[in-house]
């Protein structure tokens, strides 16, 4: 069994690799769409701007959708969560994957941008991947934009940074976080452990 990390050339993936390795996720990288074949779980990390992420990710688009529809557990992280939406204020005109309808918007100017640091979760629904995580547990965020889903029932957790920020979304076999579980200490590792467990079912 293996968890495949989509490497679409957007920077440092060692952290997520090391964290998945630590929780026995047996990670490997996918450099091409066919590398996703046989994956028991897929992680879509994200670094950099929405537009450049999407242009690099576009060649994986069809393969990712196929695996998503086949029920392969998927985890999006940070910009890897934002690309699930239709579009982003960061790069108007760049189309996202559109798996979750809604828009990615900029944090208001009244708060510190980027939001950088540890903030607490407010859990909106008891999904399995959040087993062992409680309201108020803190996770590490670094971002200037956040997703606003049309259908709020996909929101799994929020955090308060002057406005209510979508911190995690869930849809079928997909889970995605705005925060970085791989940089969020033991609680972050707990989420990754739960994800690995889901891939083993």
């Amino acid at each position: 069994m293996a968890i495949v990390i989509v490497d679409y050339g957007m920077g440092n993936l060692f952290s997520i690799y090391n964290a998945l390795d630590y929780v026995s996720g047996n990670p490997r990288f996918a450099h091409d769409p066919q590398d996703l074949n046989g994956a028991d779980g897929i992680v879509v990390p994200g670094v950099g701007a929405f537009g450049s992420c999407m242009s690099q990710l576009s060649r994986f688009k069809d393969s990712l959708l196929e695996h998503f529809q086949d029920g392969v557990p998927m985890l999006g992280i940070c910009v890897g969560m934002q690309v699930l939406f239709d579009e982003s204020e960061e790069n108007p005109g760049a189309a996202g994957l559109g798996w979750i309808s809604g828009k990615v918007v900029r944090l208001p100017d009244s708060v510190m941008i980027p939001q950088m640091g540890w903030n607490s979760l407010s859990i909106k629904q008891p999904v399995e991947i959040l087993n062992g995580i409680s309201d108020g547990d803190m996770f590490y965020f670094v971002h200037s934009y956040y997703g606003q889903p049309v259908d709020s029932s996909v929101i799994a957790a929020t955090t308060d940074h002057g406005v209510e920020v979508t911190a995690a979304v869930t849809k079928d076999n997909l889970f995605a976080t705005q925060f970085h579980p791989e940089k969020s200490g033991p609680k972050g590792l707990k989420i990754l452990k739960n994800f690995v467990r889901a891939t083993q079912c």
């Binding site: 952290s15 903030n119 940089k183 972050g188």
Partner: protein, 270 residues
């Protein structure tokens, strides 16, 4: 609400195999504290919110030792890691990021060539660039200086570089503002007057800088007790407190400091 962060700092002497953590007093006398990746692991287990590694030897030929320290640490420490000391090009920053660092801190090289801040920020994002400032109180007020009122009278703050060995004549407060406009995502603000003295943070300095920049400010230099951390969080907008000696040699752990702060109403991650 974002939590206030507690950040242990590892001053690394990389002149011995594998490196060693040391701590100086007012940038001088040196004490040995431990092995870098072992101490990082201990502080992570204790609840550190982030860990800073500074190569105090800051020499290009020893960067390989630093990257191996970071590689080893990042396999089992899952909080942000920042690395500084002797990074003077995008290429050198890349080596450190590729080893597993999340942020790099710049000091001397940014003072010598401020565009370096923009170059690294454009490639890795503002959040990945921390500007470190070593500031020294100067009581000879000159025209054009940003004057700050302190318990010892009005002063301005001069930036030092080369690990505190040379002074630049540059106003630290003006430099903090300029660095942020160039793309620095965070300021690591060290008081040279307080560093290693155990007298507490320089409150006027930290207060002034954390009010004029809209990025997080990490207070550094002088803390010897959780009371000093409480003071800096109550009296200034500092986002984080950085300390070395209190954790290396003192009776306090990262966890006990955080419990102390939480009991007194500071928002910290337990």
């Amino acid at each position: 609400m974002l939590a206030r962060r507690i950040i242990p700092c590892l001053d690394c002497d990389l002149g011995v195999p594998g490196g060693r953590v040391v701590k100086g007093i007012e940038f001088k006398q040196i004490r040995y504290a431990g092995i870098p990746w072992e101490l990082a692991g201990k502080y992570y287990e204790d609840g550190a919110d982030e860990i800073v590694f500074l190569d105090i030897t800051a020499s290009a030929e020893r960067r390989e030792t630093m990257t191996s320290v970071i590689k080893k640490t990042s396999r089992s420490v899952f909080v942000p890691l920042a690395v500084g000391g002797g990074i003077s090009s995008v290429e050198q920053a890349r080596e450190v990021f590729n080893a597993g660092a999340d942020k790099i801190t710049l000091n001397t090289s940014a003072l010598k060539r401020p565009e370096l801040i923009s170059e690294i920020a454009e490639k890795y994002g503002n959040q990945a660039v921390v500007l470190a400032i070593d500031a020294k109180r100067r009581f000879n007020i000159e025209e054009g200086r940003k004057v700050v009122q302190t318990e010892k009278g009005p002063c301005w703050f001069e930036c030092s570089y080369y690990g505190g060995r040379q002074f630049t004549g540059i106003d630290a407060i003006a430099w903090a503002k300029r660095a942020v406009s160039l793309g620095a995502g965070e300021i690591l603000l060290t008081s040279m007057d307080r560093d290693g003295t155990y007298e507490g943070f320089d409150i006027p300095l930290t207060d002034t800088v954390s009010k004029i920049v809209n990025v997080p400010v990490i207070a550094s230099g002088g803390s010897a007790s959780p009371d000093h951390m409480l003071e800096v969080f109550e009296k200034t907008n500092a986002s984080a407190a950085l300390a070395a000696s209190i954790f290396h040699f003192g009776e306090w752990t990262v966890g006990s400091v955080k419990s102390y702060l939480k009991e007194r109403g500071v928002n910290v991650r337990i």
